[in-house]
């Protein structure tokens, strides 16, 4: 196990290092931030002064060395726009995005599991078929447009939910959150629902496949023979057994939900990390983009690492195969 752990950790570090290099090199292709920062009528001397202040006048390799050294110390540069450390700007926005992703996750479970189980119990009925067609739509329709249509329906026509933004924020256990007030929740419903659509389509499929498989098992037949009620069989015996794959997949998908929040946050003008990324791309705020990417890479690598280690802990074949190859 230790050998496997070390190998796997080494791989993760390699991925982070490769991505760091790619991100850094790529940022130089994005464009010259001085064009945005300096006023249009600034002369060459002013532009040089800005370049010097930001360290942009040094050779590329020196900037890269400095970038790595500082990144290892948790410093990913100062935002050109806000003039505070980029990591701080992102961390400030992180709770909003996490809140959105978690509420979205809850939505996708509450929508996906009942529908998936229904479709799994009667796969060839019209209900089962329409749920599956719905899940295909959930997979393939452009998410942002669904978000716009939800705004149109609930905020513009019916006027029962706000069109965007984040509700009043209160501090709970030191974490600023909007999920504990009615107004905050009202702001969360539409963005979280939009974000949840794709994932609930996924949950429907897993739950349906799981239900179909579990229903054929001997223990379900036994439960029936014992005379248990249908609801008890479904809610206790089936549900418990299909939760394992659902939880595994959703855990894996949490990272991609944070990434997907880029779109949802833009549609709903929600002040999270994703909106910050889009704004920073438009303003060529390099340190923020770099910091966002590095944090996302680290989050993804950590999630993948945890999942792989868990699998290896559960299934000895995984670590044996890895140790050999």
């Amino acid at each position: 196990m230790l050998v496997y752990l070390i190998r796997r950790l080494g791989q993760s570090l390699l991925v982070v290092a490769v991505m760091a290099t790619l991100v850094f090199v790529a940022m130089f292709a994005v464009g010259d931030p001085i064009d945005i920062l300096a006023s249009p009528d600034a002369d060459q001397i002013e532009r040089d002064a800005i370049a010097k202040r930001l360290g942009l006048d040094r050779p590329l390799w020196e900037q890269f060395g400095l970038f790595v050294w500082r990144a290892l110390h948790g410093d990913l540069g100062r935002s050109f726009v806000y003039n505070v450390p980029a990591v701080d700007v992102i961390l400030q926005r992180l709770p909003a995005t996490l809140e959105l992703a978690l509420v979205g996750l809850v939505f996708s479970i509450t929508i996906g599991i009942p529908l998936g189980v229904l479709a799994g119990l009667k796969p060839y009925s019209w209900l089962g078929r329409s749920i599956m067609s719905g899940s295909i739509l959930g997979f393939s329709l452009p998410n942002f447009w669904i978000g716009l249509m939800l705004i149109l329906l609930f905020a513009v026509e019916l006027r029962i939910l706000p069109a965007g933004g984040r509700g009043p924020v209160v501090s709970v256990l030191g974490i600023p959150t909007a999920a504990f007030s009615l107004e905050g929740l009202r702001h969360l419903i539409l963005p979280a629902l939009t974000l949840a659509l794709y994932k609930s389509a996924l949950v429907i499929r897993i739950a349906r496949a799981g239900t179909r498989e579990v229903m054929l098992q001997d223990y379900i037949r036994f439960a029936r023979a014992k005379g248990l009620s249908r609801s008890r069989i479904i809610f206790v015996h089936v549900l418990k057994n299909i939760m394992i794959p659902v939880v595994t997949v959703l855990g894996l998908e949490l990272g991609s939900m944070i990434a997907f929040a880029v779109v949802t946050e833009t549609v709903f003008a929600y002040p999270g990390m994703g909106k910050l990324l889009i704004d920073s791309i438009n303003r060529l705020d390099r340190p923020i983009i770099v910091a966002y990417l590095m944090m996302t890479v680290v989050i993804f690598v950590i999630i993948n690492l945890i999942v792989d280690l868990l699998y290896a802990a559960i299934d000895p074949r995984v670590r044996l195969a890895e140790a050999k190859g």
Binding site: V15, S140, P142, F144, W145, L148, V156, A209, T266
Partner: protein, 318 residues
């Protein structure tokens, strides 16, 4: 050609014992294509999807002849016509069935031209990504060993990051432009095809006809491209069809975020983004109708893709 058709059959029904597949290919009355077409036509949903898709493609190709107005000829636009409701008449006498946008552009015409760009970007990016991905996948499977494991590691790495994020960053680097969107879509998509083709190539590579081709001392490239690759096509066709819908959705999302196609060549996603500003004041048509067109196209592609999957690979789980 006969060689190709016969080889194809083996891939479609690999579980059928030899005599059966020989019987199929020696029956001159029924060609493989014919069988697939008949099978496809049995699903009314898929036929409807295909009809819609063909209609949309024709509309896109003949846009200049069909659209009531050339939406990008500024001399034809009148600012007095801006943000008209659906069904109102333009100053030039045309009825704007789907309303007009803030420039006084007929939305129906704008959608027809937008469809052109959306469909083209989706189709072209899928074709290029498919060619690259399939080549890489089949070569990796054929080569095996170290080459294969390095290639598949890269594929896994790429697929572990969400496509939308990778494409967003690539476009932030490349800048705006139709060609750049296509390039970004190719980069985020090739790995799917590589994985799909490698999967089927690993199975096909162990079959007797590959062994026979090798024994004949055919050049490697001929074995890979003429014998191995054609037999890996069925699952690839299915993945590619559905992927066109994904590519179109992804492109529209990127354009909505402001990193996709340029303002001069607006796709459907771009039109939706334009209407975003008017949505809150109840002027729904600028965002809604391009979205409806997008949804129709995507649903049609999915219907066709789903049926293709059933026809080409009955054993594949839905």
């Amino acid at each position: 050609m006969a060689d190709y058709v016969r080889a194809d059959e083996v891939a479609i029904a690999p579980e059928i014992p030899e005599p059966a597949s020989i019987a199929l290919s020696s029956d001159p009355g029924e060609s493989l294509l014919r069988r697939h077409v008949d099978e496809f036509l049995k699903s009314p949903g898929a036929v409807a999807g295909l009809a819609v898709l063909v209609a949309l493609a024709l509309v896109a190709v003949f846009a200049p002849a069909i659209a009531p107005q050339n939406p990008y000829d500024l001399s034809k636009l009148d600012i007095m016509d801006n943000v008209l409701k659906p069904g109102e008449r333009l100053g030039s006498g045309i009825t704007a069935f789907l309303g007009t946008d803030d420039q006084g552009r007929d939305m129906l015409s704008a959608i027809i031209y937008g469809l052109r760009i959306s469909l083209a970007v989706g189709a072209i990016s899928v074709v290029i990504a498919c060619v690259i991905g399939a080549s890489v996948g089949v070569l990796a499977a054929y080569a095996g060993g170290r080459v294969e494991s390095v290639v598949m590691r890269i594929v896994d790495l790429q697929l572990s990051f969400p496509a939308i994020l990778v494409a967003l960053i690539l476009l932030a680097i490349f800048g705006r432009g139709v060609d750049k969107v296509v390039l970004a879509l190719v980069i985020v998509q090739w790995a799917y095809y590589a994985r799909t083709v490698r999967g089927s190539a690993l199975v096909e590579k162990r079959r007797e006809y590959i062994e026979a081709a090798r024994c004949l001392a055919l050049p490697k490239s001929r074995v890979v491209y003429r014998h191995l690759l054609p037999n890996c096509l069925p699952p690839l066709i299915v993945v590619a069809t559905v992927q066109v819908a994904h590519a179109i959705a992804l492109e529209s999302t990127l354009s909505f975020l402001g990193v996709g196609v340029p303002v001069t060549e607006p796709s459907l996603g771009m039109l939706i983004a334009h209407g975003y500003n008017y949505l809150l004041s109840g002027k729904y048509w600028i965002s809604t109708f391009p979205g409806v067109a997008l949804v129709i196209a995507i649903v049609a592609i999915n219907l066709v893709g789903d049926r293709l999957r059933d026809v080409l690979n009955p054993r594949l789980a839905r």
